[in-house]
């Protein structure tokens, strides 16, 4: 009985320590960008790894999600003879909800896991210690560009996802199912508000970007230096970021809908 109490205490202290450690780690990584000569090439390389290489999966998923929303929406709306509203159904559901959330989930699986595995392997093969030996700060050289690359890439990926999902919906709704193209676009434009819908979606995705890359680099940087540890950290990254995305999505939506 007393042992259980002690265990709860120990795990609570552990938890608090990790929260503090990760917060300090995040603040240091955000602030300690590499010096001016190196920052752009390092950032470009990481944006390429994290953002450009994720393009294919993001764009393909966006196309299919737009198409399936159009198909599902059409068959529901046509029962009320309201298939002209298909454009606004697709645009609002994609721009507000599906775009930020699905892109963030895919990003966590595609880019977050690879960031964790890369940093974990660096830790396990003592490359990080080697950098410290050579008086190179690993946080500013390795962690900070990856964090910033994630924060920059995810909103851009979300915008591209939104666009291609709406185009996919257009393909299915207008080209295949025969909804009138003019009313598709005008109903969409009449109901989608730039600030309320599009900008709030992008704000959401920026928050998700910070959370995902933070979790990914933290889990990688402090992963136990062996193969089991790396696999555990990678799993944790995907699980934690997915949970955080869905939970934060609810909180952010509640804030934005409640006349923020």
């Amino acid at each position: 009985m007393l042992g259980t109490v002690r265990k709860i205490g120990a795990s609570s202290i552990d938890f608090a320590e990790r929260i503090g450690q990760s917060t300090l780690f995040f603040i240091r990584s955000v602030l300690q960008l590499p010096d001016f000569r190196h920052v752009f090439s390092l950032l470009a390389q990481q944006i390429y790894n994290v953002g450009v290489l994720s393009l294919v999966i993001i764009l393909l998923s966006g196309l299919f999600i737009g198409m399936v929303v159009a198909l599902q929406g059409y068959h529901t709306l046509v029962q009320f003879a309201a298939e002209q509203q298909l454009g606004q159904l697709i645009a609002l559901s994609v721009v507000r909800e599906l775009g930020p959330v699905v892109t963030a989930l895919l990003f966590a699986g595609r880019a977050g896991s690879s960031l964790t595995a890369e940093l974990g392997l660096m830790r396990a093969t003592e490359q990080i210690s080697a950098m410290q030996m050579m008086a190179v700060d690993p946080i500013s050289r390795v962690v900070s560009p990856r964090l910033w690359a994630g924060i920059i890439s995810l909103p851009i990926l979300t915008i591209l996802f939104n666009l291609i999902a709406i185009y996919g919906g257009f393909l299915v709704g207008v080209k295949w199912l025969g909804v009138d193209g003019g009313s598709f676009w005008t109903n969409m434009q009449g109901s989608v508000n730039f600030q309320v819908d599009i900008l709030n979606g992008i704000i959401k995705s920026a928050v998700f970007a910070v959370v995902i890359t933070w979790i990914a680099v933290y889990q990688g940087y402090y992963s136990p230096p062996n193969s089991a540890g790396i696999s555990m950290s990678t799993t944790k990254t995907v699980v934690y970021s997915s949970l955080m995305i869905l939970g934060l999505d609810f909180v952010l939506t509640a804030l934005m809908m409640g006349g923020w």
Binding site: A44, L157, L160, L163, M188
Partner: protein, 163 residues
């Protein structure tokens, strides 16, 4: 040399993102700022605006000629004061009537202007005097039920039905 290629690709990626944002803004949200040179504001006061919202369309004979800019409550008359932005291409007579209609049964509300015969036109800031409130479905049903009842029981006198 690989680094140069990477930088090019990343540059394209960022530019594609920004371009998509612009397309989203204009194509999807129909984002267009009404510059004061193209539109002029007109005020209309309604007893009840029903479900009218800012950005709702203003039409004459079904042709869209402007948008609702803002809706506020007049603190003195307790009427809803809607500011409309009308396209400068169209001149609307001063004695025109503004009514709030609904698109279809479940659609959104919009303002329809029935042109009058006055020789003078609405100018920036002028007020549309004749307005018709939105039809509130509950009121209509209430009136209907009330008139049915009075028909059936054949009461001697019914109060004037309040609109």
């Amino acid at each position: 040399m690989r680094s140069k290629v990477v930088e090019w690709v990343v540059g394209l990626f960022v530019i594609a993102g920004l371009a998509s944002l612009v397309v989203l803004a204009f194509k999807v949200s129909g984002f267009s700022h009404y510059s004061s040179s193209d539109y002029y504001p007109v005020v209309a006061e309604f007893d009840n605006i029903g479900g009218l919202k800012p950005r709702a369309k203003v039409s004459v004979s079904g042709v869209v000629i402007g948008r609702v800019e803002s809706i506020i409550l007049d603190p003195r008359s307790y009427q809803a004061k809607a500011t409309l932005l009308l396209n400068k291409r169209y001149r609307i007579p001063l004695d025109s009537e503004a009514s709030i209609f609904t698109e279809g049964i479940l659609g959104s509300n919009y303002i329809s202007i029935a042109p009058g015969y006055d020789a003078n036109n609405l100018s920036p800031g002028s007020v549309i005097e004749k307005t018709h409130s939105a039809m509130i479905l509950e009121n209509l049903i209430g009136q209907l039920v009330y008139s049915f009842k009075s028909d059936k029981s054949d009461e001697t006198k019914t109060d004037a039905v309040k609109q």
